[in-house]
Amino acid sequence: MSTPHLDIRAVAHLARLELTPEEQARYGAQLGDILRYVEQLQQVDVTGVEPTAHALPRFNVTRPDVVQPSLPLEAALRNAPARGQDLFVVPKIVE
């Protein structure tokens, strides 16, 4: 990870984010700066160190497997950009 190689168009495609050519240039440069900054983490010896995700680690958090009230259909569909027959409508997926 010496010199970060950032293909901004490939990353934007992975993120499903349409960028203008001007945005590609600007974000590409800014992300290059940030990646150079975070490279200092390579100096830290992390041998044998476990990654963290919680202040007070929890294991096997479960709850009773019982039916709970859920959103009524109308509430779930209320914010839909396009709907029909109680479904979300999207562009054709299969040819």
Binding site: L56, A76, R78, N79
Partner: protein
Amino acid sequence: MLHRLSLSELTARLAAGECSAVEVTRACLDQIQRCDGQVKAFLHVDAASALAQAEAADAARRAGATPAERPLLGVPVALKDNLATRDQPLTCGSRILENFVSPYDATVVEKLRAAGAVLLGRLNLDEFAMGSSTENSAFGPTRNPWDPARIPGGSSGGSAAAVAAREVPAALGSDTGGSVRQPAAHCGVVGLKPTYGRVSRYGLVAYASSLDQVGVLTRTVRDAATLLGVIAGHDPRDATSLPEPVPDYRAALGPGDLRGLKLGLPREYRIPGLHPEVRAAVDAAVNQLQALGAEPVEVSLPHTPYALAAYYIIAPAEASANLARFDGVRYGLRVAGADPTEMYQRTRGAGFGPEVKRRILLGTYVLSRGYYDAYYLRAQKVRTLIRQDFLRAFEQVDALVTPTTPGPAFKLGEKASDPLQMYLEDIFTLSCNLAGLCGISLPCGFTRQPRLPIGLQLLGPPLGEATLLRIAHAYEQATPWHPQAPPLAGD
């Protein structure tokens, strides 16, 4: 003048029948009318709903509801616009959610309602809580009530500015890297970030799920204790919430004697870039805490220099995953495309602002094939070392004392063009989120010219909120800072 009273003063007056919830709510609405044209803290005020809730609160009081059952009965509270409130807007400061209406209440909102609070409106924020100045809101920046040419901090800038401008006695925000404490410092109010998991995140729009926590902004430490007591607790709908019982935070405030407590001063937080007046105010605060009986001890947190880098890998990585849900299918903006992929790309390209795009791109990159181990996994391991530094320090001391921010509020636009400069705003606050600790910022003085608030930060071990509140309360009661209001708030 009711709008100038603290939450505790209001609950006392309401309980004694000296004023009604409708009068209090009207006073806050009037203050919003007077000030918010300049401050722009609110994105949405639903006056009709607020007055209806206030009438219901007054009716409940007449029917015999007691403060023990409903500790916030009739008290206005406003919410950062990333906390779901049924039938209210939830924009997250983003075009992509401009017309979204919440179908349900966040757990903290349910708890506020159960406690009798009057929900006043929606507060501005950096888009999806990503930022330190509230300049990243798609609906325009919030101004600092102490100087409208300056930023209020962020991302909970609307929450801090509204409380400082006496528009509402208390507000909720969210804190992922300092987003409650930093704006509290810049606006001269109290901001508390609880331990990760202390407050349910159900209904908080996710930014970085391993760091996000709902926090409170108030004008006094006692009010922060009251509000935290209402919103804290286990929630089966948030598997990361903690089952430990919630203590009586108000009872823990104590008489102001800090004898027997040790306060750690982290060596690594004495950075060259620290503003001289901030340094002087924090040094004076340490002397004050010592005068109250606490014993200051120098401590070391050796991995501090790596916190910012770890944060700016972990937070964007989690953000890129969380924000994948905004695809124009089930809710929010949709920009049409020939196929689903084009629709996603156009929707997201049009709906997100620059800082959100930057973080999604950065997060996508550090999680992509071949880079995950070098960036995200390594950052999570460095995070463990940062956490161990803190836990080791807390074997020696009860809390840590630091500045909240490296300097006072800066001018709008001053740091907008350089993301790294903006990120440095959070160097004292973001380790607390990485380590899952609790933290509070409270006023500890003002710069001379211009007169801007300075924040003192106290950090505590996981579930150390009661001790933090005790120290903060003792300091607050011994100093003249917290009653001071910005001139703009008027009388």
